[in-house]
Protein backbone atom coordinates (compact mmCIF):
# COMPACT_ATOMS: atom_id res chain seq x y z
CA UNK A 1 0.00 0.00 0.00
CA UNK A 2 1.26 3.47 -0.83
CA UNK A 3 0.81 6.31 1.63
CA UNK A 4 0.89 9.74 0.05
CA UNK A 5 3.24 12.18 1.78
CA UNK A 6 1.75 15.52 2.59
CA UNK A 7 4.32 18.23 2.20
CA UNK A 8 4.37 20.99 4.78
CA UNK A 9 5.88 23.42 2.29
CA UNK A 10 2.62 24.94 1.01
CA UNK A 11 1.46 25.71 4.52
CA UNK A 12 4.80 27.13 5.55
CA UNK A 13 4.72 29.27 2.47
CA UNK A 14 1.24 30.56 3.32
CA UNK A 15 2.53 31.73 6.68
CA UNK A 16 5.61 33.29 5.20
CA UNK A 17 3.73 35.34 2.63
CA UNK A 18 3.06 38.42 4.80
CA UNK A 19 6.67 38.46 5.88
CA UNK A 20 7.90 38.29 2.32
CA UNK A 21 5.54 41.07 1.36
CA UNK A 22 6.77 43.25 4.19
CA UNK A 23 10.34 42.55 3.27
CA UNK A 24 9.65 43.61 -0.29
CA UNK A 25 8.03 46.83 0.82
CA UNK A 26 10.88 47.67 3.16
CA UNK A 27 13.26 46.80 0.36
CA UNK A 28 11.68 49.36 -1.90
CA UNK A 29 11.67 51.97 0.83
CA UNK A 30 15.35 51.43 1.46
CA UNK A 31 16.02 51.55 -2.26
CA UNK A 32 14.49 55.01 -2.36
CA UNK A 33 16.63 56.10 0.54
CA UNK A 34 19.80 54.74 -1.02
CA UNK A 35 18.91 56.23 -4.35
CA UNK A 36 18.35 59.64 -2.89
CA UNK A 37 21.58 59.38 -0.94
CA UNK A 38 23.41 58.43 -4.11
CA UNK A 39 21.96 61.22 -6.14
CA UNK A 40 22.42 64.00 -3.72
CA UNK A 41 25.13 63.22 -1.21
CA UNK A 42 26.90 59.89 -1.11
CA UNK A 43 28.41 59.68 -4.57
CA UNK A 44 31.66 58.15 -3.60
CA UNK A 45 30.84 54.65 -4.82
CA UNK A 46 29.05 55.40 -8.05
CA UNK A 47 30.68 53.57 -10.92
CA UNK A 48 30.30 54.03 -14.63
CA UNK A 49 27.89 51.17 -14.89
CA UNK A 50 25.06 52.16 -12.61
CA UNK A 51 23.75 54.89 -10.47
CA UNK A 52 23.22 52.76 -7.46
CA UNK A 53 26.11 51.26 -5.60
CA UNK A 54 27.09 50.82 -2.05
CA UNK A 55 30.37 49.97 -0.35
CA UNK A 56 30.85 46.21 -0.16
CA UNK A 57 29.25 45.82 3.23
CA UNK A 58 26.36 47.99 2.15
CA UNK A 59 24.32 45.30 0.40
CA UNK A 60 24.57 42.79 3.20
CA UNK A 61 23.54 45.49 5.63
CA UNK A 62 20.60 46.49 3.47
CA UNK A 63 19.36 42.95 3.13
CA UNK A 64 19.63 42.33 6.85
CA UNK A 65 18.23 45.71 7.69
CA UNK A 66 15.14 45.26 5.60
CA UNK A 67 14.60 41.79 7.01
CA UNK A 68 14.91 43.23 10.48
CA UNK A 69 12.39 45.94 9.73
CA UNK A 70 10.02 43.36 8.29
CA UNK A 71 10.25 41.13 11.34
CA UNK A 72 9.90 44.13 13.60
CA UNK A 73 6.77 45.38 11.90
CA UNK A 74 5.14 42.00 12.39
CA UNK A 75 6.13 42.01 16.01
CA UNK A 76 4.78 45.46 16.63
CA UNK A 77 1.60 44.79 14.70
CA UNK A 78 2.17 47.38 11.99
CA UNK A 79 2.78 44.86 9.24
CA UNK A 80 1.25 45.98 5.97
CA UNK A 81 1.79 42.54 4.58
CA UNK A 82 -0.30 40.98 7.27
CA UNK A 83 -3.02 43.58 6.90
CA UNK A 84 -3.22 43.14 3.13
CA UNK A 85 -3.24 39.41 2.96
CA UNK A 86 -5.42 38.48 5.85
CA UNK A 87 -8.27 40.82 5.23
CA UNK A 88 -11.74 39.56 5.91
CA UNK A 89 -13.79 38.92 2.82
CA UNK A 90 -15.64 42.19 2.76
CA UNK A 91 -18.95 42.34 0.93
CA UNK A 92 -18.20 43.00 -2.72
CA UNK A 93 -19.34 46.60 -2.49
CA UNK A 94 -15.80 47.76 -1.84
CA UNK A 95 -13.97 48.32 -5.14
CA UNK A 96 -10.74 46.36 -5.33
CA UNK A 97 -8.58 49.46 -5.51
CA UNK A 98 -9.58 50.60 -2.05
CA UNK A 99 -8.90 47.33 -0.25
CA UNK A 100 -5.62 46.94 1.55
CA UNK A 101 -4.47 44.33 -0.90
CA UNK A 102 -5.46 46.50 -3.84
CA UNK A 103 -3.60 49.51 -2.54
CA UNK A 104 -0.54 47.50 -1.68
CA UNK A 105 -0.41 45.87 -5.09
CA UNK A 106 -0.78 49.17 -6.87
CA UNK A 107 1.94 50.64 -4.71
CA UNK A 108 4.23 47.72 -5.50
CA UNK A 109 3.61 47.83 -9.22
CA UNK A 110 4.10 51.57 -9.47
CA UNK A 111 7.19 51.44 -7.32
CA UNK A 112 8.65 48.55 -9.33
CA UNK A 113 8.00 50.51 -12.46
CA UNK A 114 9.74 53.57 -11.11
CA UNK A 115 12.73 51.61 -9.82
CA UNK A 116 12.88 49.78 -13.13
CA UNK A 117 12.83 53.00 -15.09
CA UNK A 118 15.80 54.29 -13.17
CA UNK A 119 17.77 51.05 -13.08
CA UNK A 120 17.51 50.44 -16.78
CA UNK A 121 18.52 53.96 -17.67
CA UNK A 122 15.48 54.65 -19.75
CA UNK A 123 16.01 58.04 -21.28
CA UNK A 124 13.57 59.08 -23.93
CA UNK A 125 15.53 62.22 -24.63
CA UNK A 126 18.45 60.24 -25.99
CA UNK A 127 16.20 58.59 -28.54
CA UNK A 128 15.47 61.93 -30.08
CA UNK A 129 18.89 63.44 -29.66
CA UNK A 130 20.78 60.57 -31.22
CA UNK A 131 18.29 59.89 -33.97
CA UNK A 132 20.55 61.44 -36.62
CA UNK A 133 23.18 58.79 -35.88
CA UNK A 134 20.86 56.14 -37.16
CA UNK A 135 20.33 57.62 -40.57
CA UNK A 136 23.04 55.46 -42.05
CA UNK A 137 21.35 52.45 -40.55
CA UNK A 138 17.90 53.22 -41.95
CA UNK A 139 19.32 54.06 -45.31
CA UNK A 140 21.08 50.75 -45.41
CA UNK A 141 18.03 48.80 -44.36
CA UNK A 142 15.89 50.39 -47.01
CA UNK A 143 18.41 50.02 -49.81
CA UNK A 144 19.63 46.51 -49.27
CA UNK A 145 22.57 45.22 -51.23
CA UNK A 146 22.08 41.63 -52.26
CA UNK A 147 25.54 41.33 -53.84
CA UNK A 148 26.48 38.23 -51.92
CA UNK A 149 23.12 36.58 -51.84
CA UNK A 150 24.17 33.84 -54.21
CA UNK A 151 27.69 34.86 -55.06
CA UNK A 152 30.25 33.78 -52.59
CA UNK A 153 31.82 36.45 -50.47
CA UNK A 154 35.54 35.58 -50.37
CA UNK A 155 36.05 37.03 -46.91
CA UNK A 156 33.19 34.97 -45.54
CA UNK A 157 33.87 31.80 -47.50
CA UNK A 158 30.27 31.40 -48.46
CA UNK A 159 27.15 33.04 -49.75
CA UNK A 160 24.18 34.30 -47.81
CA UNK A 161 21.85 31.66 -49.17
CA UNK A 162 24.39 28.92 -48.63
CA UNK A 163 24.72 30.00 -45.08
CA UNK A 164 20.97 30.14 -44.78
CA UNK A 165 20.71 26.50 -45.76
CA UNK A 166 23.28 25.67 -43.12
CA UNK A 167 21.29 27.61 -40.56
CA UNK A 168 18.12 25.71 -41.36
CA UNK A 169 19.95 22.41 -41.18
CA UNK A 170 21.41 23.35 -37.81
CA UNK A 171 17.94 23.98 -36.48
CA UNK A 172 16.60 20.78 -38.06
CA UNK A 173 19.31 18.58 -36.58
CA UNK A 174 18.97 20.14 -33.19
CA UNK A 175 15.21 19.68 -33.16
CA UNK A 176 15.25 16.13 -34.49
CA UNK A 177 17.98 14.74 -32.28
CA UNK A 178 16.88 16.79 -29.30
CA UNK A 179 13.37 15.52 -29.84
CA UNK A 180 14.39 11.90 -30.00
CA UNK A 181 16.46 12.22 -26.85
CA UNK A 182 13.71 14.10 -25.06
CA UNK A 183 11.08 11.40 -25.55
CA UNK A 184 12.42 8.93 -22.98
CA UNK A 185 13.44 11.79 -20.71
CA UNK A 186 9.90 13.04 -20.79
CA UNK A 187 8.69 9.75 -19.37
CA UNK A 188 11.37 9.76 -16.71
CA UNK A 189 10.28 13.19 -15.66
CA UNK A 190 6.60 12.43 -15.30
CA UNK A 191 5.20 12.10 -11.83
CA UNK A 192 2.60 9.51 -12.67
CA UNK A 193 5.04 7.04 -14.16
CA UNK A 194 7.77 7.60 -11.65
CA UNK A 195 5.82 7.10 -8.49
CA UNK A 196 6.23 4.03 -6.34
CA UNK A 197 9.67 2.87 -5.47
CA UNK A 198 12.39 5.00 -3.96
CA UNK A 199 14.60 4.32 -6.91
CA UNK A 200 12.09 5.71 -9.36
CA UNK A 201 11.48 8.83 -7.33
CA UNK A 202 15.16 9.70 -7.17
CA UNK A 203 15.40 9.30 -10.90
CA UNK A 204 12.40 11.53 -11.29
CA UNK A 205 13.85 14.37 -9.23
CA UNK A 206 17.22 14.08 -10.90
CA UNK A 207 15.69 14.18 -14.35
CA UNK A 208 13.53 17.15 -13.49
CA UNK A 209 16.45 19.03 -11.99
CA UNK A 210 18.57 18.23 -15.01
CA UNK A 211 16.20 19.64 -17.48
CA UNK A 212 15.34 22.67 -15.44
CA UNK A 213 18.97 23.64 -15.14
CA UNK A 214 19.76 23.04 -18.79
CA UNK A 215 16.63 24.91 -19.86
CA UNK A 216 17.56 27.91 -17.75
CA UNK A 217 20.70 28.46 -19.74
CA UNK A 218 19.79 29.93 -23.10
CA UNK A 219 21.13 28.35 -26.28
CA UNK A 220 23.39 31.32 -26.84
CA UNK A 221 25.24 30.69 -23.63
CA UNK A 222 25.51 26.99 -24.42
CA UNK A 223 26.97 28.02 -27.76
CA UNK A 224 29.76 29.79 -25.92
CA UNK A 225 30.56 26.55 -24.11
CA UNK A 226 30.48 24.48 -27.28
CA UNK A 227 32.52 27.03 -29.16
CA UNK A 228 35.25 26.53 -26.61
CA UNK A 229 34.79 22.78 -26.87
CA UNK A 230 34.54 22.30 -30.61
CA UNK A 231 35.79 25.54 -32.03
CA UNK A 232 33.70 28.06 -33.92
CA UNK A 233 31.32 26.78 -36.52
CA UNK A 234 27.89 25.30 -37.09
CA UNK A 235 28.72 22.17 -35.10
CA UNK A 236 29.01 24.21 -31.93
CA UNK A 237 25.77 26.00 -32.72
CA UNK A 238 23.97 22.76 -33.43
CA UNK A 239 25.02 21.15 -30.19
CA UNK A 240 24.03 24.22 -28.26
CA UNK A 241 20.57 24.25 -29.80
CA UNK A 242 20.34 20.51 -29.39
CA UNK A 243 21.01 20.39 -25.71
CA UNK A 244 18.66 23.24 -24.91
CA UNK A 245 15.93 21.81 -27.13
CA UNK A 246 16.27 18.41 -25.53
CA UNK A 247 15.73 19.85 -22.08
CA UNK A 248 12.87 22.13 -23.15
CA UNK A 249 11.08 19.36 -25.05
CA UNK A 250 11.60 16.90 -22.22
CA UNK A 251 9.84 19.28 -19.85
CA UNK A 252 6.92 19.95 -22.18
CA UNK A 253 6.69 16.29 -22.93
CA UNK A 254 6.69 15.27 -19.27
CA UNK A 255 3.77 17.61 -18.67
CA UNK A 256 1.87 15.85 -21.44
CA UNK A 257 2.63 12.46 -19.97
CA UNK A 258 1.36 13.63 -16.61
CA UNK A 259 -1.90 14.61 -18.22
CA UNK A 260 -2.75 11.33 -19.91
CA UNK A 261 -6.07 9.75 -19.12
CA UNK A 262 -6.18 6.64 -17.03
CA UNK A 263 -9.06 5.08 -18.93
CA UNK A 264 -7.45 3.80 -22.13
CA UNK A 265 -4.47 2.58 -20.12
CA UNK A 266 -6.74 0.58 -17.81
CA UNK A 267 -8.46 -0.83 -20.83
CA UNK A 268 -5.28 -2.09 -22.45
CA UNK A 269 -4.00 -3.38 -19.12
CA UNK A 270 -7.19 -5.33 -18.53
CA UNK A 271 -6.61 -7.41 -21.64
CA UNK A 272 -3.43 -8.81 -20.20
CA UNK A 273 -0.94 -6.71 -22.10
CA UNK A 274 2.60 -6.33 -20.80
CA UNK A 275 4.00 -3.12 -19.34
CA UNK A 276 5.60 -1.99 -22.59
CA UNK A 277 2.58 -2.92 -24.64
CA UNK A 278 0.39 -0.87 -22.33
CA UNK A 279 2.65 2.13 -22.74
CA UNK A 280 2.85 1.72 -26.50
CA UNK A 281 -0.90 1.32 -27.05
CA UNK A 282 -2.43 3.12 -24.10
CA UNK A 283 -0.12 6.01 -23.29
CA UNK A 284 1.86 6.83 -26.42
CA UNK A 285 -1.09 7.49 -28.76
CA UNK A 286 -2.36 10.04 -26.25
CA UNK A 287 0.80 12.07 -26.33
CA UNK A 288 1.97 11.87 -29.91
CA UNK A 289 -0.19 14.65 -31.35
CA UNK A 290 0.84 17.25 -28.78
CA UNK A 291 4.41 16.06 -28.99
CA UNK A 292 4.53 16.64 -32.71
CA UNK A 293 3.13 20.11 -32.10
CA UNK A 294 5.90 20.77 -29.63
CA UNK A 295 8.50 19.62 -32.13
CA UNK A 296 7.18 22.07 -34.70
CA UNK A 297 7.11 24.85 -32.13
CA UNK A 298 10.66 24.02 -31.12
CA UNK A 299 11.81 23.97 -34.74
CA UNK A 300 10.48 27.48 -35.14
CA UNK A 301 12.34 28.70 -32.05
CA UNK A 302 15.52 26.92 -33.09
CA UNK A 303 15.53 28.56 -36.49
CA UNK A 304 15.20 31.96 -34.84
CA UNK A 305 18.04 31.21 -32.46
CA UNK A 306 20.17 29.74 -35.19
CA UNK A 307 20.04 33.04 -37.08
CA UNK A 308 21.89 34.83 -34.31
CA UNK A 309 23.95 32.10 -32.75
CA UNK A 310 26.91 33.09 -34.90
CA UNK A 311 27.43 35.93 -32.46
CA UNK A 312 29.33 33.60 -30.17
CA UNK A 313 30.82 31.44 -32.86
CA UNK A 314 27.93 29.17 -33.62
CA UNK A 315 27.95 29.46 -37.37
CA UNK A 316 24.98 30.15 -39.56
CA UNK A 317 23.67 33.20 -41.34
CA UNK A 318 24.36 35.41 -38.33
CA UNK A 319 28.00 35.41 -39.37
CA UNK A 320 27.15 37.63 -42.28
CA UNK A 321 25.03 39.92 -40.18
CA UNK A 322 27.69 40.56 -37.57
CA UNK A 323 30.53 40.82 -40.05
CA UNK A 324 28.82 43.43 -42.22
CA UNK A 325 27.71 45.28 -39.13
CA UNK A 326 31.29 45.50 -37.94
CA UNK A 327 32.22 46.85 -41.35
CA UNK A 328 29.39 49.38 -40.99
CA UNK A 329 28.20 48.06 -44.35
CA UNK A 330 24.55 48.81 -43.61
CA UNK A 331 23.35 47.99 -47.08
CA UNK A 332 24.46 44.41 -46.79
CA UNK A 333 23.28 44.27 -43.22
CA UNK A 334 19.90 45.20 -44.60
CA UNK A 335 20.10 42.39 -47.10
CA UNK A 336 20.87 39.79 -44.47
CA UNK A 337 18.15 41.13 -42.17
CA UNK A 338 15.57 40.87 -44.92
CA UNK A 339 16.58 37.32 -45.73
CA UNK A 340 16.32 36.35 -42.07
CA UNK A 341 12.97 38.06 -41.65
CA UNK A 342 11.53 36.37 -44.72
CA UNK A 343 12.71 32.89 -43.83
CA UNK A 344 11.66 33.06 -40.20
CA UNK A 345 8.31 34.48 -41.22
CA UNK A 346 7.66 31.68 -43.70
CA UNK A 347 8.65 29.01 -41.24
CA UNK A 348 6.54 30.56 -38.53
CA UNK A 349 3.55 30.54 -40.84
CA UNK A 350 4.05 26.91 -41.86
CA UNK A 351 4.59 25.89 -38.29
CA UNK A 352 1.44 27.68 -37.23
CA UNK A 353 -0.70 26.08 -39.91
CA UNK A 354 0.69 22.62 -39.24
CA UNK A 355 0.03 22.93 -35.54
CA UNK A 356 -3.50 24.09 -36.16
CA UNK A 357 -4.16 20.89 -38.05
CA UNK A 358 -2.90 18.72 -35.28
CA UNK A 359 -5.22 20.10 -32.68
Amino acid sequence: MKKPRKSILPDLFQRAKPLILDWLIWGYISYTVIFLLNSYWYTQYVDWYGTLTLPPWGWALTVLGTLGCALASEYFGVSIGLKSLTEEETPPTKPWVITNWGLTSIFLVVFTFWVGWLTTDINLGIIIRRAPKTIGLWHGLSHPNFAHLIEVDPEMEGSILGSLVNTLFMAYLATLIGGILAAPLGFLGARNIMGGSWFRRIFFYLTRAFFNVVRSVESLIWAIVFAIWLGFGPAAGSFALLIHSMAALAKLFSEQVEAIKKGPIEAVQSTGASFWQTIRYGAVPQVIPQYTAFLLYRLDINVRMATVIALVGGGGIGRFFFYYKDQLDWEQVGAVTIVIAVVVWILDWISGKAREKIV
Binding site: G116, D121, N123, R130, A131, S216, E218, I228, T337, I340
Partner: protein
Protein backbone atom coordinates in the same frame (compact mmCIF):
# COMPACT_ATOMS: atom_id res chain seq x y z
CA UNK B 1 -13.20 -5.61 -53.19
CA UNK B 2 -14.06 -7.96 -50.40
CA UNK B 3 -13.73 -6.82 -46.84
CA UNK B 4 -10.69 -8.99 -46.28
CA UNK B 5 -8.89 -7.48 -49.21
CA UNK B 6 -9.95 -4.01 -48.13
CA UNK B 7 -8.25 -4.48 -44.79
CA UNK B 8 -5.09 -5.79 -46.41
CA UNK B 9 -4.85 -2.88 -48.80
CA UNK B 10 -5.54 -0.23 -46.17
CA UNK B 11 -3.14 -1.67 -43.60
CA UNK B 12 -0.55 -2.05 -46.27
CA UNK B 13 -0.96 1.55 -47.38
CA UNK B 14 -0.69 2.92 -43.86
CA UNK B 15 2.46 0.93 -43.21
CA UNK B 16 4.25 1.94 -46.41
CA UNK B 17 3.18 5.56 -46.25
CA UNK B 18 4.46 5.90 -42.69
CA UNK B 19 7.68 4.27 -43.79
CA UNK B 20 8.03 6.83 -46.57
CA UNK B 21 7.57 9.69 -44.10
CA UNK B 22 10.23 8.24 -41.84
CA UNK B 23 12.58 7.81 -44.77
CA UNK B 24 12.03 11.42 -45.78
CA UNK B 25 13.06 12.68 -42.37
CA UNK B 26 16.02 10.36 -42.27
CA UNK B 27 17.10 11.51 -45.72
CA UNK B 28 16.92 15.14 -44.67
CA UNK B 29 18.87 14.19 -41.59
CA UNK B 30 21.66 12.61 -43.64
CA UNK B 31 21.95 15.59 -45.97
CA UNK B 32 22.04 17.97 -43.01
CA UNK B 33 24.67 15.91 -41.25
CA UNK B 34 26.71 15.99 -44.39
CA UNK B 35 26.76 19.76 -44.52
CA UNK B 36 27.11 20.41 -40.80
CA UNK B 37 29.52 17.70 -39.86
CA UNK B 38 28.58 16.94 -36.29
CA UNK B 39 31.69 15.16 -35.31
CA UNK B 40 30.94 13.27 -32.13
CA UNK B 41 34.51 12.05 -31.88
CA UNK B 42 35.64 15.66 -31.81
CA UNK B 43 33.56 16.05 -28.66
CA UNK B 44 35.84 13.55 -27.04
CA UNK B 45 39.14 14.52 -28.58
CA UNK B 46 38.69 18.21 -27.93
CA UNK B 47 37.48 17.64 -24.42
CA UNK B 48 40.76 18.75 -22.81
CA UNK B 49 40.25 22.31 -24.01
CA UNK B 50 37.17 22.50 -21.85
CA UNK B 51 38.83 21.21 -18.72
CA UNK B 52 39.51 24.70 -17.50
CA UNK B 53 35.83 25.39 -17.78
CA UNK B 54 34.66 22.33 -15.86
CA UNK B 55 37.41 22.84 -13.36
CA UNK B 56 36.00 26.25 -12.59
CA UNK B 57 32.83 24.54 -11.37
CA UNK B 58 34.85 22.99 -8.62
CA UNK B 59 36.34 26.29 -7.57
CA UNK B 60 33.98 29.13 -8.41
CA UNK B 61 35.10 32.65 -7.62
CA UNK B 62 32.48 33.84 -5.16
CA UNK B 63 33.90 37.32 -4.87
CA UNK B 64 31.75 38.45 -7.75
CA UNK B 65 28.57 37.27 -6.12
CA UNK B 66 27.56 40.76 -4.99
CA UNK B 67 28.21 42.32 -8.34
CA UNK B 68 26.41 39.45 -9.99
CA UNK B 69 23.39 39.78 -7.75
CA UNK B 70 23.09 43.44 -8.54
CA UNK B 71 23.30 42.72 -12.26
CA UNK B 72 20.75 39.99 -11.87
CA UNK B 73 18.32 42.44 -10.35
CA UNK B 74 19.03 44.86 -13.16
CA UNK B 75 18.38 42.13 -15.71
CA UNK B 76 15.12 41.30 -14.03
CA UNK B 77 14.11 44.92 -14.18
CA UNK B 78 14.99 45.07 -17.84
CA UNK B 79 12.63 42.22 -18.53
CA UNK B 80 9.94 43.70 -16.33
CA UNK B 81 10.12 47.12 -17.91
CA UNK B 82 10.07 45.72 -21.42
CA UNK B 83 6.99 43.67 -20.61
CA UNK B 84 5.22 46.39 -18.63
CA UNK B 85 5.81 49.00 -21.33
CA UNK B 86 4.80 46.64 -24.07
CA UNK B 87 1.53 45.66 -22.43
CA UNK B 88 -0.54 48.80 -23.12
CA UNK B 89 0.58 48.94 -26.73
CA UNK B 90 -0.08 45.27 -27.26
CA UNK B 91 -3.54 45.53 -25.75
CA UNK B 92 -4.60 48.34 -28.04
CA UNK B 93 -3.02 46.77 -31.09
CA UNK B 94 -4.59 43.43 -30.33
CA UNK B 95 -8.04 44.89 -30.85
CA UNK B 96 -6.94 46.49 -34.09
CA UNK B 97 -5.49 43.20 -35.19
CA UNK B 98 -8.48 41.00 -34.51
CA UNK B 99 -10.42 39.80 -37.52
CA UNK B 100 -13.72 39.57 -35.72
CA UNK B 101 -13.60 43.13 -34.47
CA UNK B 102 -12.33 44.74 -37.62
CA UNK B 103 -15.02 44.11 -40.15
CA UNK B 104 -15.49 47.32 -42.11
CA UNK B 105 -13.36 47.65 -45.30
CA UNK B 106 -11.27 50.44 -43.82
CA UNK B 107 -10.72 48.36 -40.70
CA UNK B 108 -9.61 45.40 -42.79
CA UNK B 109 -6.68 47.46 -44.04
CA UNK B 110 -5.71 48.37 -40.50
CA UNK B 111 -6.02 44.72 -39.50
CA UNK B 112 -3.74 43.53 -42.28
CA UNK B 113 -1.21 46.25 -41.54
CA UNK B 114 -1.10 45.55 -37.83
CA UNK B 115 -0.78 41.80 -38.16
CA UNK B 116 1.66 42.06 -41.02
CA UNK B 117 4.02 44.47 -39.33
CA UNK B 118 3.85 42.55 -36.07
CA UNK B 119 4.75 39.38 -37.94
CA UNK B 120 7.78 40.94 -39.53
CA UNK B 121 8.99 42.47 -36.30
CA UNK B 122 8.57 39.13 -34.56
CA UNK B 123 10.72 37.42 -37.16
CA UNK B 124 13.68 39.49 -36.19
CA UNK B 125 15.31 38.28 -33.01
CA UNK B 126 15.67 40.69 -30.08
CA UNK B 127 19.44 40.36 -30.41
CA UNK B 128 19.30 41.91 -33.84
CA UNK B 129 16.99 44.61 -32.58
CA UNK B 130 19.42 45.20 -29.75
CA UNK B 131 22.18 45.89 -32.23
CA UNK B 132 20.01 48.40 -34.00
CA UNK B 133 19.18 50.13 -30.76
CA UNK B 134 22.76 50.11 -29.58
CA UNK B 135 23.68 52.08 -32.64
CA UNK B 136 20.85 54.40 -31.68
CA UNK B 137 21.27 54.95 -27.95
CA UNK B 138 24.68 53.45 -27.13
CA UNK B 139 25.34 50.36 -25.04
CA UNK B 140 23.79 49.74 -21.66
CA UNK B 141 20.55 48.31 -20.39
CA UNK B 142 18.43 50.86 -22.29
CA UNK B 143 18.87 49.43 -25.79
CA UNK B 144 18.23 46.01 -24.30
CA UNK B 145 14.94 47.19 -22.90
CA UNK B 146 14.02 48.79 -26.20
CA UNK B 147 14.88 45.67 -28.15
CA UNK B 148 12.84 43.46 -25.84
CA UNK B 149 10.06 46.01 -25.87
CA UNK B 150 9.76 46.11 -29.65
CA UNK B 151 9.77 42.33 -29.92
CA UNK B 152 7.35 41.98 -27.02
CA UNK B 153 4.84 44.38 -28.51
CA UNK B 154 4.88 42.40 -31.74
CA UNK B 155 4.70 38.99 -30.09
CA UNK B 156 2.06 39.95 -27.54
CA UNK B 157 -0.04 41.60 -30.19
CA UNK B 158 -0.04 38.36 -32.11
CA UNK B 159 -0.90 36.20 -29.11
CA UNK B 160 -3.53 38.61 -27.86
CA UNK B 161 -5.24 39.17 -31.16
CA UNK B 162 -5.38 35.44 -31.86
CA UNK B 163 -7.11 35.04 -28.53
CA UNK B 164 -9.57 37.80 -29.27
CA UNK B 165 -10.38 36.08 -32.54
CA UNK B 166 -11.38 32.94 -30.70
CA UNK B 167 -13.75 34.42 -28.14
CA UNK B 168 -17.31 33.33 -27.92
CA UNK B 169 -19.30 35.49 -30.35
CA UNK B 170 -22.48 35.10 -28.31
CA UNK B 171 -22.01 38.00 -25.90
CA UNK B 172 -20.73 40.11 -28.78
CA UNK B 173 -23.92 39.57 -30.72
CA UNK B 174 -26.04 40.12 -27.68
CA UNK B 175 -24.57 43.49 -26.85
CA UNK B 176 -24.43 44.64 -30.44
CA UNK B 177 -28.09 43.79 -30.70
CA UNK B 178 -28.93 46.20 -27.94
CA UNK B 179 -27.59 48.96 -30.14
CA UNK B 180 -24.51 49.69 -28.08
CA UNK B 181 -21.57 51.38 -29.77
CA UNK B 182 -18.29 49.65 -30.60
CA UNK B 183 -16.59 50.75 -27.44
CA UNK B 184 -19.29 49.44 -25.16
CA UNK B 185 -19.31 46.14 -27.00
CA UNK B 186 -15.61 45.94 -26.38
CA UNK B 187 -15.89 46.65 -22.71
CA UNK B 188 -18.80 44.40 -21.92
CA UNK B 189 -18.47 41.54 -24.34
CA UNK B 190 -14.82 41.23 -25.22
CA UNK B 191 -12.86 42.32 -22.20
CA UNK B 192 -14.34 39.99 -19.58
CA UNK B 193 -13.49 37.03 -21.78
CA UNK B 194 -9.91 38.00 -22.33
CA UNK B 195 -8.66 39.28 -19.00
CA UNK B 196 -7.44 35.90 -17.80
CA UNK B 197 -5.83 34.78 -21.04
CA UNK B 198 -4.11 38.14 -21.44
CA UNK B 199 -2.73 37.89 -17.93
CA UNK B 200 -1.51 34.41 -18.68
CA UNK B 201 0.19 35.50 -21.91
CA UNK B 202 1.82 38.43 -20.16
CA UNK B 203 3.36 36.13 -17.59
CA UNK B 204 4.49 33.86 -20.40
CA UNK B 205 6.10 36.79 -22.16
CA UNK B 206 7.76 37.94 -18.94
CA UNK B 207 9.37 34.53 -18.66
CA UNK B 208 10.68 34.76 -22.22
CA UNK B 209 11.91 38.30 -21.69
CA UNK B 210 13.85 37.28 -18.62
CA UNK B 211 15.57 34.58 -20.64
CA UNK B 212 16.31 36.97 -23.46
CA UNK B 213 17.53 39.61 -21.08
CA UNK B 214 20.19 37.27 -19.78
CA UNK B 215 21.75 36.97 -23.20
CA UNK B 216 21.10 40.37 -24.67
CA UNK B 217 24.03 41.70 -22.70
CA UNK B 218 26.36 39.80 -24.98
CA UNK B 219 25.89 42.32 -27.73
CA UNK B 220 26.08 45.16 -25.29
CA UNK B 221 22.54 45.24 -24.11
CA UNK B 222 23.31 45.45 -20.44
CA UNK B 223 22.44 43.11 -17.64
CA UNK B 224 24.24 40.05 -16.44
CA UNK B 225 24.91 38.74 -19.95
CA UNK B 226 27.40 41.48 -20.53
CA UNK B 227 29.45 40.65 -17.48
CA UNK B 228 29.28 36.92 -18.18
CA UNK B 229 30.56 37.42 -21.68
CA UNK B 230 33.39 39.69 -20.64
CA UNK B 231 34.59 37.17 -18.07
CA UNK B 232 34.50 34.38 -20.64
CA UNK B 233 36.43 36.46 -23.12
CA UNK B 234 39.07 37.00 -20.51
CA UNK B 235 39.06 33.26 -19.86
CA UNK B 236 38.16 33.99 -16.27
CA UNK B 237 36.02 30.89 -15.83
CA UNK B 238 35.71 30.86 -12.06
CA UNK B 239 33.94 34.18 -12.23
CA UNK B 240 31.94 33.22 -15.30
CA UNK B 241 30.68 30.10 -13.56
CA UNK B 242 29.32 32.13 -10.66
CA UNK B 243 27.49 34.37 -13.11
CA UNK B 244 26.04 31.33 -14.85
CA UNK B 245 24.80 29.88 -11.61
CA UNK B 246 23.06 33.13 -10.81
CA UNK B 247 21.43 33.11 -14.22
CA UNK B 248 20.24 29.55 -13.78
CA UNK B 249 18.79 30.40 -10.39
CA UNK B 250 16.90 33.40 -11.69
CA UNK B 251 15.58 31.88 -14.87
CA UNK B 252 14.48 28.72 -13.08
CA UNK B 253 12.82 30.77 -10.38
CA UNK B 254 10.92 33.00 -12.76
CA UNK B 255 9.96 30.06 -14.93
CA UNK B 256 8.57 28.23 -11.93
CA UNK B 257 6.65 31.23 -10.62
CA UNK B 258 5.33 32.03 -14.04
CA UNK B 259 4.10 28.47 -14.57
CA UNK B 260 2.45 28.22 -11.19
CA UNK B 261 0.72 31.57 -11.53
CA UNK B 262 -0.50 30.66 -14.97
CA UNK B 263 -1.80 27.34 -13.70
CA UNK B 264 -3.73 29.15 -11.00
CA UNK B 265 -5.17 31.59 -13.49
CA UNK B 266 -6.23 28.93 -15.91
CA UNK B 267 -7.80 26.51 -13.53
CA UNK B 268 -8.72 28.81 -10.70
CA UNK B 269 -7.55 26.29 -8.16
CA UNK B 270 -5.92 23.54 -10.08
CA UNK B 271 -5.73 19.84 -9.56
CA UNK B 272 -2.73 17.64 -9.50
CA UNK B 273 -2.73 14.69 -11.83
CA UNK B 274 -3.63 11.35 -10.36
CA UNK B 275 -0.83 9.15 -9.38
CA UNK B 276 -0.89 5.56 -10.44
CA UNK B 277 1.60 3.02 -11.54
CA UNK B 278 1.54 0.80 -14.54
Amino acid sequence: MSDGEEIRVRSSWYFWRNLLVVLFFIGLFVVALNRINLDLTKLITNFPSTLKLWGAFAKPDWSVLGEGAELLVKTLYMAFMATALALPFAIVLSFLGAKNLMNSPAAQVVYTAVRGIASVIRSIQPIIWAIIFIVWVRTGPFPGVLALWVHSVADMTKLFSERVESIDPGPLEAIEATGAGKLLVLVYAVIPQIINPYLSFTLYRLDINVRMATIIGIVGGGGIGMRLYSYINKWNFPKAVVMTMLIVAMVWGIDYLSSRLRERIETGGGERSEQYTI
